[in-house]
Assembly symmetry: C4
Homo-oligomer: 219 residues x 4
């Protein structure tokens, strides 16, 4: 009986993690290329430089916002991969689609930073985030179905991973829907979500975690 | 007796994997730099933005296509390296040539995206893919000959790795040959191949795999 | 009782290290893109090329200086992570803010290289360094408080990690304060600090280290 | 007794390897950005495209040459790090200087590609290579002196590592010296060296290696 290539392809969760770290690292850093220092010729004194730097603020805010988005999704992906015993070809490809969405964030963010008042820019930005959420959700479903999850991972952990993605995506959908009123409402809402996830890391309630969770988490 | 430097050089398959992940990550992300947001001055309303975004579609399709190509070859290389116990200098250099071809994909894709109607652009794109396939094939041959493959890897696995490369390369050769008719036929064919490999990841038939395969796969 | 997602998120210190290495690697390399080779049209003989290359020197010095800064903070972060048994969500987010500051260094350096005479450029450069120092300090505090540090790490080690950050940041504050006189004084002072940390790596006094330190260091 | 920070800093050879892989990956890929596809407006038929692609050949050759140089030094660094049990602060900083030289290669290569006839361009290119060789040599000396080398590494291995660096650097010095006649002689000589190291990977004479070498190599 011939062995299907698909049965042996893409089995390393470590390689998947390493590629993902590389893609996230480049995506996080590339964006900063768009924050160009002001042209020397246009600056004649401190005041000019102050004004030029203040003019860069929207771009800077946008950069921080996208860095946070990438950070949120990086933590989300890491949490999933930490709970996997191994990978397979299907899971690998779901994560490659996830990484494709990650690679698009520099584009969709620049677009939104340039066209803050335009709904299509905002909807593309949201579609990008939605694609990342969708692929992460599918990835966990696939891992459960194909038995790739570490045996010690409890139903509780699994539920909390799925719940987190669904809740976050609901917040983003509301943000996107707000553009029916005004894109600035949407942007304000999305910034608030990001800051909530990134700036308010409460003390982990380690007491709640069961020993096998902690073991899985360390894996 | 003097020890040849070559006998001790390049022995780490992990470092090779790490460098490869880095190169793939950068190549996957760099391409997105070519999808520039439309110039602010040219956009006066939502309709303008829609048109400008639609004008970006060919470039976007090309980007997705190349991301998929890189993904296919990344999975292919990963599958090989997962089955190796260690590396040596010859194998390392074959993979460096593979990575050189990987680094060229942003160039060859941009070329094809700009000159879709030109046969030389298509043939360069194909030559790039063919070089990746050739080096991967040689790498497996070298690993077998130099005894770098894990002892538990069966003949079946080895055959399926070689078969996969040969079959995929045949499809690409047909795609390249189609440019005798028209480059659009070639591009359509190649896009179909990529989607077939990337979008249709059937459930892995884990039942077929023998225990030692699974062990090797997890390595 | 529902398991909080936060209790299982971001538990891998290895993934954090891998993302950090990626971000540092890109930030270290991106800067070199700003050192452009002189335009071919402007060069007619060796002397022209000499002059053009000498004109690049300030940019080159700035590049080396920032590479050193990134190197210093990379060593600092690595030393901390080497002493951690694991990570958690809070610690991960503190390090993501640290990496945000790392990503900003290509911008703040370019700014300072273009506007050496302007105080705001220097203060932004210093703020960037201060943010890196602050997040590293908070990270160690957080690791101690949340029990993420390896059990064999002694109080002595912990103190020396904190002391190092505080002392280095004091030197940088003095450098920043010197711009009250002149920005060139500040730049000279900061360059001296960097060289002190980077060029003068005395022989490690391994005799002093206690066995458990050495074990932790190797971890 | 206060513990010196320097005694605990930079102890992870794995982190050093990971950062290096990242820097090499970015440096290898960045260069390709300089091979720009020809402008669409200038191309009206296949013949135009052929000519434009042929005009790109020198740049392509230069790219391949630098990729090979980076590959040679990546293999060299990897071989050293594979033989280390751990790192320390001095060794880490020597490797950071090595990586600084690696980061400069995109610049020095572009310079040489633009100014093939100019001696200063060639000498800068050579100085870059010499700096990489020097730091690698110092790194091995430092590792020996500080006892960082794995205990099973023989004197023979150590000698062969040093010999390799010295011999390679001698070849490069001859290449640089040839510019007294003509820079094209130098370039031809250097290309020959690179190809010799990269294209002719003879079968490793594994028979010669002693068991402990093989163990070290796999480390």
């Amino acid at each position: 009986m011939r062995l299907t290539y698909n049965a042996i392809a893409g089995g390393s969760a470590e390689r998947l993690a390493a590629l993902s770290d590389g893609v996230f690292a480049v995506a996080m850093t590339l964006l900063v290329l768009d924050i160009r220092a002001p042209a020397v010729e246009a600056i004649h004194n401190e005041l000019d430089l102050h004004r030029a730097l203040i003019a860069l603020t929207p771009r800077l805010v946008m950069y921080v916002m996208t860095f946070l988005t990438l950070g949120i999704f990086w933590v989300g992906q890491q949490t999933q991969l930490n709970h996997l015993a191994r990978s397979d070809r299907s899971l690998t490809w779901i994560h490659l689609w996830f990484l494709l969405a990650v690679c698009m964030t520099p584009f969709s963010t620049t677009l939104l930073a340039e066209f803050t008042r335009y709904r299509s820019a905002l909807l593309i930005y949201w579609a990008n985030i939605a694609l990342m959420g969708l692929t992460l959700f599918l990835s966990w479903q696939c891992a459960l179905r194909s038995g790739l999850v570490k045996p010690e991972v409890s139903q509780q952990t699994s539920d909390s991973i799925k719940r987190r993605i669904l809740i976050a995506q609901c917040w983003y959908v509301i943000g996107a829907a707000l553009c029916a009123i005004n894109t600035y409402w949407s942007i304000g809402w999305i910034v608030t979500i990001q800051l909530f996830y990134a700036v308010a890391p409460r003390l982990p309630r380690r007491r709640n975690a069961r020993p096998e969770e902690i073991a899985a988490r360390r894996g």
